[in-house]
Every structure is written in structure tokens, then in C-alpha cells.
Amino acid sequence: MNCNHADLKGYLLGELPPDERRQVEEHLKVSPACQEDLDRLRLTHTALLALRDEEPSRRIAFVSDKVLAPNWRQRFWSAAPRLGFASAALLAVAIVSHGWLTRPPQPATPTLDAAALERQVQAEVQRRLPAAVAQAVAESEARQTRKMAEVLKAAEERLSLETRGQLVAVQEAFDLLNKRMNIMYVASSEVGGAR
């Protein structure tokens, strides 16, 4: 290899196959001019790498734009696993639908409307309440009247007994007084007869 055939730039840039690379390395040992040229190329390469990257002042905007996103049909048909999942889902829906449509008839259950029911209860209570109250009051008054009559009767009986007892006592006291007067009259008669 002579200096004209030494691909120093290819060597520097790592583009040479291994055998050609070895040939260049052998040549560099015997050619100071090529070694110097390679050193200058290395300095140039180092200088080039000093160039600083610049930041774009704005990012690429369109990539998040939903307009670019495929529609649901494209997304659906673009993936085989999704298609398989969709098939399984359809099968499941078919089974559930069949079960629903062929279910045995069931007696209709009345639909309970809680509000209407509440209104009916309230109306019935309003309707029945006055009569119930009047009946309760009447029964209570009757009970009171009966009780009062019984008390009065008992009081009258007790008073009657007491009065009768008192009359007996008066009678007895009068009889006793009458007996004593008779005894005094007999005694005075006997005293007068003796004189």
C-alpha cells in the first residue's frame, strides 16, 4: 500500500473492512506524512463534534392531533387479537340473549309504587281516625260513668248503713233513758207511799 491508496478518511470513520483496516495501520507505521494527515483529520473530526445541537423552539405538534388517529373501524379491523376478543364477546352476548328470550314465563308481579301506597295509607288513616277517636272517647266516658255510678251507689249504701246504725243507737239511748225514768218514778212512788 502506498500513500495514494491509503483510505485514511474511511479508516477514521470506521468504514473499512478489517483486512483493509490492518493494511492502513501497517502503512501508518512507515509513513509519517500519512500519520500526520490522519492526525489532522482526527483534529477536524474532534472540531466537528464541538458543534452544539440546537433545540427547536417548538415541538412537532401534529402527532397528538386526533384527526390523524385511525377511526374505530380501522382500529377494530387492524388487530387480530381484538377481532378474536370481539368474536368471543359476540358469542357471549348471543348466549345471554338466547337465555333471556327463551326463559319460562313468570307471573306478573305488581309493580309497587311506594309514593302512591303512602298516599293511600294516609287517606285511609285520615278517613278512619275521627271515628276511631270518637269511639274511644265514648267508650272512655261510658267507663267513667259506670265507675261513678258504682262509687255513688257504694257511698249511698255506706251512708244508709251508718244512718241506720245511728238511729238504732238513738233508739237504744232513748229506751235506756225511758227505763231509767220509769225506775225513778217507781222509786219515788215507793218513797211517797211509805210516808
Binding site: E15, L43, T46, A47, L48, A50, D53, S57, F62, A69
Partner: protein
């Protein structure tokens, strides 16, 4: 690079199935590189941002045409190349704007920011095709075959453009690199 291709392929396949989020990942992975590639070619930030938008939109809309999903990157840069040179053809008078001179920067030791500016200026002085060859090889790391695919030209043409560009840059940048302050 291989891992990147595998991930790109997976993301491309998912994006093809309609997963916009997968394409978002691809965009976030490549937008900065594409933007800087375009910036160094057209030398205008606004144009580069607009072109980046165009590139990713066109790539998304024609994602199904990508034969090998693992080769997303060369395909994306092919679109970027077409967009950039289409714009430059429409604006040919301004396309090769004269870059700033770097003479003053060579006088003393250089700081990284100065060296970066000098490199940008040196690149801007190159013809667009040579500059693009440097961008694809040095900054994007594409192989010669991938560059040939992006540029739609033979590998020999790619090497010719790149080697000529490196010879030109060597005269300007090697002395600067020697004096740079790390």
C-alpha cells in the same frame, strides 16, 4: 445502533396499526436530529422548524410505504433531504448565503462556544451536497450504504462528496481544534 433499529421497527409496526402514541415516541426520538440536520442545510431556524413538521407529517402519512421498518431512520432522512433541497431549489438565490468569516476566531485560543460557531461557519461554507454528506456521516452516524440510500446516489459519489468536504474542513478546523480549550 442495532438496538435503536429494533425499537424503531417495533414503534413503526405499532404506529402502522394506528397507535399514534408509538409514532409520538418516534417523533420525540428523531425530531431534534432531523431539526439540526435541516438547520445545517438550509441555515434558517424557522424554515428548519417548518420543514421538520412537514417531514414528520409526510413520514406518518406514508408509513405503510416503508418496506423495511427497521430502516426507519434512513427513510426519514430521505424525506428530510427531499424537503430541504426542494426548499433550496425554490429559494436558490438565498440558499447559499455567505457565512460569517472565521478569520478573527483563529487568532487566539478558542472556547467551546467559539469553536462551535467556527464549525457552524465552516460547514455553512461548504456546498450543500458536501455539507449534507458531513452531516449524515459525522452527526447522524449513517453508513455509506445508508447515505447512498438517503441521497439516492452511488456509494462512490457519497465518498467523493464526504472526502472532499473533509479535506476542506481539515484546512480550517484542524488548527482551531489544536488551540481549543477543553
Amino acid at each position: 445502533m442495532i438496538l435503536r433499529e429494533v425499537e424503531d421497527r417495533d414503534l413503526v409496526l405499532r404506529a402502522r396499526r394506528g397507535e399514534v402514541d408509538a409514532y409520538n415516541v418516534l417523533v420525540s426520538r428523531w425530531e431534534r436530529r432531523v431539526f439540526n440536520y435541516l438547520l445545517r442545510i438550509v441555515n434558517d431556524r424557522q424554515d428548519s422548524e417548518d420543514l421538520s413538521q412537514e417531514v414528520f407529517l409526510k413520514a406518518y402519512l406514508s408509513l405503510k410505504k416503508l418496506v423495511e421498518p427497521s430502516r426507519f431512520a434512513p427513510w426519514l432522512f430521505r424525506i428530510a433531504h427531499n424537503e430541504a433541497f426542494s426548499l433550496m431549489r425554490r429559494r436558490r438565490p438565498e440558499a447559499e448565503a455567505e457565512p460569517e468569516a472565521t478569520g478573527q476566531l483563529t487568532a487566539s485560543r478558542m472556547y467551546p462556544q467559539e469553536l462551535s460557531l467556527a464549525v457552524a461557519a465552516a460547514l455553512a461554507r461548504l456546498p450543500a451536497e458536501q455539507r449534507e454528506a458531513v452531516l449524515l456521516k459525522v452527526y447522524q452516524g449513517f453508513k455509506f450504504e445508508e447515505m447512498a440510500e438517503i441521497l439516492e446516489c452511488p456509494v462512490s459519489t457519497v465518498k467523493s462528496r464526504l472526502y472532499t468536504a473533509l479535506d476542506r474542513l481539515k484546512d480550517v478546523l484542524a488548527p482551531l481544534s489544536e488551540r481549543s480549550v477543553s
